[in-house]
Symmetry: C3
Amino acid sequence: MEKPSERIKSLGLVLPPAPPPAGLYKPILVVDQFLYVSGQGPVMNDGSLFTGRVGDGLSLEDGKRAARQVALTMLATITTHFGDLNRIKRLIKTLGMVNCTPDFGNQPLVINGFSELMSDIFGKDHGVGVRSAVGMMLPGQVAVEIEAMFELH
Amino acid sequence: MEKPSERIKSLGLVLPPAPPPAGLYKPILVVDQFLYVSGQGPVMNDGSLFTGRVGDGLSLEDGKRAARQVALTMLATITTHFGDLNRIKRLIKTLGMVNCTPDFGNQPLVINGFSELMSDIFGKDHGVGVRSAVGMMLPGQVAVEIEAMFELH
Amino acid sequence: MEKPSERIKSLGLVLPPAPPPAGLYKPILVVDQFLYVSGQGPVMNDGSLFTGRVGDGLSLEDGKRAARQVALTMLATITTHFGDLNRIKRLIKTLGMVNCTPDFGNQPLVINGFSELMSDIFGKDHGVGVRSAVGMMLPGQVAVEIEAMFELH
């Protein structure tokens, strides 16, 4: 299988600019062989954020696109730190947070937008970990925010 | 003390069917001596989900019963993976998520339904870990969803 | 640099009483060289809780003060367990939860109240970790609740 950073190119994916922290925290932290990533929003290629509430203006498909963009944003954040993605061994854990109305119940399908991209890049085994996908109130009205934990080579 | 899977039988507990993933994730993942469990909903013995919002249709006691059912569902998920519960050494961490109204403030008492069952099965020391119990919007309108991390023998 | 417990004194900070658990969980748990801390609310020096919803009665600055008080509460909880704060090596991860209205979008600035105090006590490198700052429904209508993971010496 291709290495992750080669896979990004093969799939024709474009990583957005890695976002600066929105507060007093580190974007990522390495502890032993584990990589912790702060909650990432959906940064577009022009640096703007994908905002809105799913179930009130945004559709399920909009939300899924936002979650896919969060995945690209997270890969940009990791690439900015390490230079490439090749130290990532596998995804361990994802907390997928959707800005949605109380009546919206398809958070798992929204967060699949993130999970499918991770699976495409790191493979169906190492790109898929444990996950919760739930609804919250998110900063700056972003549509989706996701934090994750990876294992490193 | 009895082993956990024997304790389930002694207490006359019935585990519901382990739920298939509701999206692209693994129900559980083992990393070194740790077991990570994806967010679990309250699956009933007939395979249906315990749905509703606490504070709007569901009472505190309803919510607590849902949280207890999440514990049984999580034990079913773990049993399906390992064959029994005997590799579990202790519960480390619980994130208890309650589908509730903004004015409901007893999330800890709801999530006690999960914690009391874990304490019954794994003991008052090893069955009790750190915890947060908070309110969110949950997938499929389930009443409670809980993710957890355990240490393995 | 001063040791953390000396730094508390130098800064003239007063730790509130460590709160008893609000349900069936342990306030903190040590696993190998890691310290897991249960979700902590903002306990005031008289033992009462800082309650209210940011964006509806509480301002951003109120919320930030609540988050700072959560930091003091967490330090009280850790001090009660270990006798002092000197075993803390660094903050790894923070989940900052704000009781806010759906339209409030400055959760990161609220949680900075916690992060700035941690940075003051443990330093700009070891006191700053990864973080998510989001909105939820919180127990007892507390304004802010925060869970965290630290590395120990």
